[in-house]
Amino acid sequence: MRSALRGRLTSYAFISPWLIALCFFIGFPFLAGLYFSFCDFPPLKVPVFIGLENYAELLGDARFHMSLGVTMVFAAAGIPIGVLLAITLAMFLNARIRGQSFYRVIFYIPHLVPTVVVAILWLWIFNPEFGLLNIVLAQVMRVVDGWAGVFFDLEAASAGAWFVKREALILLAAPLTLALTVWPAVPKFLRPSARLRQFLMTCALVLLVLALVPLADAVLHRVAPRDMAKLHAPGWLTDKSPLPSDVPFAPSWALWALIVMGMWGVGQMAVIYLAKLQDVPVELYEAADIDGANWLQKAWQITVPMISPVILFNVVMAIIGTFQVFAEPYIMTGGGPEDRTYFVALFVYDQAFQYQRVGYGSAVAWALFIMIVVLTILAFRLSRRHVYYAGR
């Protein structure tokens, strides 16, 4: 009995530094924040209880709504892209290729770079005048437009007129080659041999890419001429206009810049996926091979369900992380242009530290806490049907 007690005491002694710190530095501010959220509390004065006034105010606070909107849009656009990219990256890193460990380290390294350094680095990359991204983008767009210009009249497309040139007929060569290669109804005497078929398949795919790029470029010039004009030299962090410009609630160019920058740290997420990917039983793939499943079917029917608990975990963490995005917009944009990157964490900071409204800032923080809890519960509820916990 005594030894059991001693064992328990020893355990508590070991975790006590963490436990004490948790109570003092997290538990106490957490509860104090709840009390302050019902107070008018300029930090140099005594908190005065004002009931639900702060919460009532935030219901009608347009700037709070704006910041919440920015955060939501960032989450809606950034999380799916991040998850997709991380899974794709994890799959590549999972492939048996030479230097696999090297690539894994390379993709994880960005996560180790401090946020401030990353923010300053990307400030340079996004500079519209001499930033690396715009220099590359300008060259790429020049080549793409030049190529598309052979087949389509891009100026006419931007003006909303008929834009297909006669030369565009050449582009049909790609689907024709593809059809010739894969269509089973091609007459036997026209059907190529297996080796020739492989060669034609490769040619067809190359041709398809070469055809799709100018087609997409021309169509985009037709449907979004303004965005395409901007794509040659975007203002990135300084541009408040939405992209795509005609889609309601679309992220601004500035917010897209932060989303793109967010992908910088995707390696960390990919490593978690990778760990789970390596946990997927090989027998399942072998069985699928026997059944004649192709790569896509195996990915969709085996890989995704097997790693779905990790996808859920990463999505929930990303939702929570989105509500905490602070350093990047604080350093790079200050919330601008015109509040288009004014995340809700910046709003809380401004209220508490810039405008000395700790009570109101606490109310907003608590409202966010409740939102995160609700969103997390929702994510778990929605995932019940789609997340597969093997053996449970």
Binding site: P42, P128, P337
Partner: protein
Amino acid sequence: MRPVHFGLLALIVLVALVGVLEVKPALEDFDPVLHKEFADTWADRVHLSYWEKWSGFEADGCQAMCDAFNRSQDGIYVHYVRTSQVDRKAMLAAIGRDPPDILGLWNSNLVPFADGGAIRPLDDLMRQSGIAPDMYIENYLKLGQFRGKTYALPTAVMTLALCYNKEHFRAKAAELRAAGLDPDRPPRTIEELDRYADVLNEFAPDGTPRIMGFLPTEPGWYNHAWGYFFGGKLVDPETGAITTDEPANVRAYAWTKRYAERYGRDKLLQFRSGFGSFDSPYNAFIEGKVSMEMQGVWFPMFIRRHRPQLEFGVAPFPCAEGVPGPRSLMEMDVVAIPTDSPHPKEAWTFVCWMQKEGLAILARIQGKNMPVKDPPPWFHQGHPNLELKVFEDLALSPHSFIVPHTLVGQEYRDAMNRAFEHIWGWEVEQVCAAELAGLTGAARQARIDELCRGEVERTLRAVREDIERKLRQKLERERFQPRRAQ
């Protein structure tokens, strides 16, 4: 023998190690190199900490002032502590009741600190020490006052003037003359400024600017104050009423909007993104990308540091026609004594000396003007800022202005900056495409101007209503707020 409880033992050792190793360095620690000349009196002195914000040559000025004080007597030693984001750190220190002895802030920080009882009123001390309020230029003194009491005194002060690139004026002398303008002098009215700017502009074949004669967004630090140059104001100094959307202010912001419309928001965005940071040779004015700019008294020092050969001139920033001038926004850095200052008496001794003797040292090295009406005779001899007279005259001008303190000063300033940004970026041709359809030439331009003006009015009205609501709320809640005992 009882077994050793390793968990507890490790914890005790850890705590003891932290306690021993984490010894806070004290101000009084003597450095045989840095403090050599004070070795004899070091132990007998009261050591004061003075938190200030400056870096670079401005910090050198502050250090020189502190050194001069430390040499002038042997009872007190002031340690100048360079502190970035001094306002936030001082706020936290004040909340924790562990502030420095002396605190350097910006005048815009005065209200929360004074209203929260974190800094001491200085009127009685000033009276006892013979510091007469009328020795100061009135506006500077007012910037240190809140609700009739003086809580802070000036350190570094500023006025704003027009800096213009004489090389650009000379290069375009013929064109300026052809436009009926004198290339040997700067513009005297806003209307003239626009005409000068028009001639000085240079564009690449695709319409992207190479040189802009003038840009209201550069440097962009005083966007809240444009209205004053058109005869407007943000706060009525008599009644304290918020006057954001009065006609002169609307006129001012409509004027700034015209620059965005005339030269294209996107093109200007692109152009501005190539500007380097303020304190660098790639500063837009120093590099020669902008010919005229509203800047503070410090700017000539920065120009000479980064591009000594640049020929530039300084003149009062022009006002709109019919608005009396010369005028300038007046702001300043202040020094205050925290309520919980560990050595308030000694701190005042230093502040008092600073106001009587130290400011001249500080202003000389920082290249700025002094907040007093009559600087000492030697102050101007060899002053590094050759354009100082313009800034001094502006400080003494009866038309120069301050933005009076309000309880929502920071919110107001931020709201005005956002309003400016909104007005500048408001895409009239996108938003009002239907209203502009079919219009061409002058009729179209007139309609654009009218629509922009409407948007300016709406934006400024929204700011006024928002700030009035916040002010009302603060005043209502203030009635229930007990002030901290001083």
